[in-house]
Symmetry: C2
């Protein structure tokens, strides 16, 4: 759907020299979008594109009138305080701005001096949500996560009969989604210990992260109009990192019969940078499950969907406890995974979501669900890593964890790399748990 | 929380004579808010207040500068195309505008001629959603609905153990909420017949209405800050009628383990008029369940909450089939109920929703859940009226129904009345099912 073109060329290099460094998340082949301003300033928030350790200020760039046609129109839309208008413009506009920026940032570009005027150091920036999120839907696409969690509740029958037919999803809370750096108080709510006579109220005792990707909708669809799977990817703007915080003890008591509620609505944190679907084109890879396991129903099935496959995004979760922070110790890896373990493609999520006529709007967010892999070190949540709280994780400084403690920061990082394409990264999302109020 | 004052006086009458007629929904004691414009015009949508068969155009009124202070500020906020800004202003502003309008519309007011200039016929108006709905949460407050539906799935154990402790709720889809008059196509999605080997895709076969009330949040709360039950009602702006359309066969196949999804996200219809919490003050009534059944946990419990009790709102569901419409036959009642059957008060819903720090924003919508009463004719959905499709309803023209057919219009009406207060009504919400696409 998004074809490989000159913007993906592994040999491209930028006059922004930091972009050319080995291991840089934001090389010239990436060009992800965010909403930013200078830290502690009263500047307006506006759109930016990352390049190396800098940001191209798209408001300033649009005012410089060095881009033309659709690329210029796109930059003007990105001068707003949210990306919704740009997201609504569609694939052609996203591609035009990407191509123009790729050319302007390439070594030797005639636009170098004009663009230099528009650069802001990432170190000096703070971020906002990239768009107004009208609705947030959380999916459940990792069959390994669904199986591991199912095992804790139903040892004999971990995977429910609908799992391989329906991309299971549920409506989430949009208001409590924050951008990386979101610190939140440990949630308080009702729980009931299995042996207690009645429930009680208090701080969550089984606080958990969820390693997810966030999929941002670009152009929407009208209520009553479904999006065919062949067209679904063209509606998707891009992907970010996403930590969908969860309170397992609250969830266990509240979720029957209508699903999770307060266990999910206290905080969900996204990375500031959205990597576009076009940037991700070189990293398509085979599914980690057999494609006919079973054959999906017609509305979830297309030649293209099968042949494009999954997206190979390496993922990592790291923890930095308060003690580690105080001792200047870097975050420590507790899990790795990959988006190829998703049972459903992003196109299938959109096709399913809209088959009933549900309207998706530009800026709507789809959570991938916890992206766990099949191996023990690939659990995307503490619930899996600690096997429901029964296994203790020992960190390198001797601290132990079964769930997340006050003062802990959780980082998620993600990147794509293969021999035919440049490495691109998603940056990171971090959030820190404060004590209950 | 909202005290009875001169605006509720049963003896008030208006110089808008239609407001004084017996059985009028919009007498001077009501003064509900909507967003409207003249039908098929290109006028901007703006706020209005109903009086008799007219609407006070609040944009025009704000421009006439006949109100003062907080009432004028409120009218200015209502000149917008959504009520969100007015909702955010809080209880004092809502009360000031209500009092000013009550005085200005009372027989003998010096403002009669100024106000006359601002009147639009309801018959000439069309409505929009009253506000931007950031998030929509659906609750499950009728214990009779929960029990009846539970019985269909679990005959021996209809009510789950958490029901009397937690106001059960789940996140809903905001994008597909429409205003009365919303016509929508029968949703298509995956279902699986109990005896089928595998699921299939097709139009919903068990389409259902849900008789609900919609509770609109006024002033919000910050993320991380819960709203104590004593303050909860002051955050609520008002209540409307709400039909939360449901596809029972889609729901049955998709809802495990994370709750309803596509079975709910194709259409939900609200009435245009929001009756304010202040207007509802005279209609507080005893709960229909014992208050200590069991004693709610502390955060859901207050002296005031117990003593104020429920809200006595009579509710009625009516059907008009295509044949009835073609024959000029009026809608026919299929169920009645009352909001006193809600197990939880609106204050308890807000206190529970925010106990974990979840932020509610002005204009957020809380669905009450299906408001069924204890008697057979008080089921708020076809699922209950037809006992899961096993009992056929025969209409007066001989047509039969177990679920909702193409061409059917479902109406919900609601009103409050008692011997000490004037009758006030909610108007109606109607939506019509079109054939699947």
């Amino acid at each position: 759907m998004y074809s490989i073109n000159e913007t993906h060329d592994i040999h491209l290099s930028s006059w922004v020299t930091s972009a050319n460094q080995q291991g840089c998340d934001f090389g010239i082949q990436n060009l992800p979008f965010a909403i930013f301003r200078r830290k502690q300033s009263d500047e307006v928030f506006r759109g930016g594109v990352a390049i190396g350790d800098k940001i191209v200020d798209l408001k300033k760039l649009s005012e410089a009138h060095v881009l033309t046609d659709l690329a210029q129109k796109g930059a003007v839309a990105c001068a707003n305080s949210t990306l919704n208008e740009f997201m609504a413009m569609g694939k052609e506009a996203w591609g035009a701005l990407r191509l123009a920026l790729s050319k302007a940032l390439t070594k030797g570009s005639k636009l170098e001096s004009a663009l230099k005027n528009c650069l802001v150091e990432q170190a000096d920036a703070e971020y906002n949500l990239p768009c107004t999120i009208g609705d947030y839907t959380d999916f459940y696409t990792s069959i390994h996560h669904a199986t591991s969690v199912g095992k804790l509740f139903r040892p004999d029958n971990p995977l429910l009969p609908n799992y391989k037919w329906i991309p299971i999803g549920y409506h989430g809370r949009a208001s409590s989604i924050g951008v990386s750096g979101q610190n939140f108080h440990r949630p308080v709510s009702q729980t009931k210990a299995p042996d207690a006579e009645q429930p009680s109220v208090g701080p969550c005792k089984r606080l958990d992260h969820e390693l997810e990707l966030g999929i941002f909708m670009g152009s929407g669809n009208e209520l009553g109009q479904s999006v065919p799977i062949e067209e679904a990817e063209a509606h998707i703007f891009g992907i970010c990192l996403f930590n969908d915080w969860s309170a397992r003890d609250i969830q266990a008591w509240e979720y029957q019969p209508l699903g999770p509620f307060l266990s999910k609505s206290f905080a969900s944190t996204i990375s500031p940078w959205i990597v576009t679907m076009e940037a991700l084109a070189p990293y398509r890879a085979a599914f980690s499950h057999p494609a006919d396991d079973p054959q999906p129903l017609a509305y979830l099935s297309s030649e293209q969907n099968s042949s494009q496959g999954a997206i190979d995004i390496d993922l990592e979760v790291l923890i930095q406890t308060q003690k580690m922070r105080e001792n200047g110790q870097a975050p420590e890896s507790i899990a790795t995974s990959n988006f190829i373990h998703s049972y459903w493609t992003v196109a299938q999520l959109v096709a399913h979501h809209t088959v009933n006529g549900c309207n998706l709007r530009p800026g709507d967010l789809l959570g991938s669900g916890t992206q766990s892999g099949p191996e023990p070190g690939e659990g995307g949540s503490m619930l899996e890593l600690s096997v429901g709280g029964k296994k203790t994780l020992t960190l390198s400084n001797g601290e132990t964890r079964t769930f997340i403690e006050d003062g802990d920061s959780i980082f998620i990082r993600g990147w794509c790399a293969n021999e035919n394409a440049a490495r691109i990264g998603f940056g990171e999302v971090v959030s820190t748990v404060l004590p209950a109020r």
